[in-house]
Symmetry: C2
Subunit: 107 residues, 2 copies
DNA sequence: AATTTATATAAGTTAATTCTTATATAAGGA
DNA sequence: TCCTTATATAAGAATTAACTTATATAAATT
């Protein structure tokens, strides 16, 4: 799932869609409007975001209002936190060592 | 910059490389070894990671030891935290709205 | 019932990505 | 110096991604 999430987030248009959704629910039309891009293109991006668990949609007549899915960030946060922990436990010594090496090579 | 970072992270091989580097410094050869992939392929991934500010390299004779770039990690965390806040505030607001709607529709 | 509105899906195109193999470069060791 | 090791770069092939236009569907409006 982290793969789907990061793939979804790697596209600037999709990130802009998320930013817009942070302001509140929006329909596909609302979301498409600010972009110089066709409606199907936006629908395709929304499918990717939904597949990654980053947005939710409901049915309201012919509209499909979208909103952010807070749970969708959890896996990504876990992954990043894990990377951070490993980094912290394994790099303390290395950083000191590299600093020392720098001092030994003055100029 | 966040664009380059997220693009870099969208590839599973590159994420695996970062995970390996979280355990400590490694040369290109070290990094290539666990993968069923040629050395040039790994070098190309490393170039992407370096360009995204996620790794640092030093020169040590003919070797090029790589390590995680603390700033790259920090920037990512900041971005993700910001995204999390956006997700949460929107969720809270929507929650309030739905609660209000509930009150207005008593049973 | 016919038309319009909101969205989805299909098919095709172009461009970007990720590999490959072949080759270049530069430091280390015999 | 010659050979080997470690890595980078170039060029090309295969795959995937991100668009497009055309069309389908289903609810809302007239």
């Amino acid at each position: 799932m982290i793969n789907a999430a990061l793939h979804a987030l790697s596209d600037p248009t999709r990130r802009a869609i998320l930013a817009r959704l942070a302001l509140g629910e929006a329909t596909v039309g609302d979301l498409a409007q600010p972009f110089a891009m066709s409606q199907p293109a936006i629908s395709q991006h929304l499918k990717v975001l939904e597949g990654a668990g980053l947005i939710l949609r409901r049915v309201e007549g012919t509209k499909r209002p979208c909103r952010l899915a807070p749970q969708g960030l959890a896996d990504l946060e876990d992954w990043l936190a894990q990377l951070r922990r490993a980094f912290e436990t394994n790099y303390a010594r290395l950083d000191d060592l590299l600093t020392e090496l720098d001092k030994e090579t003055p100029k």
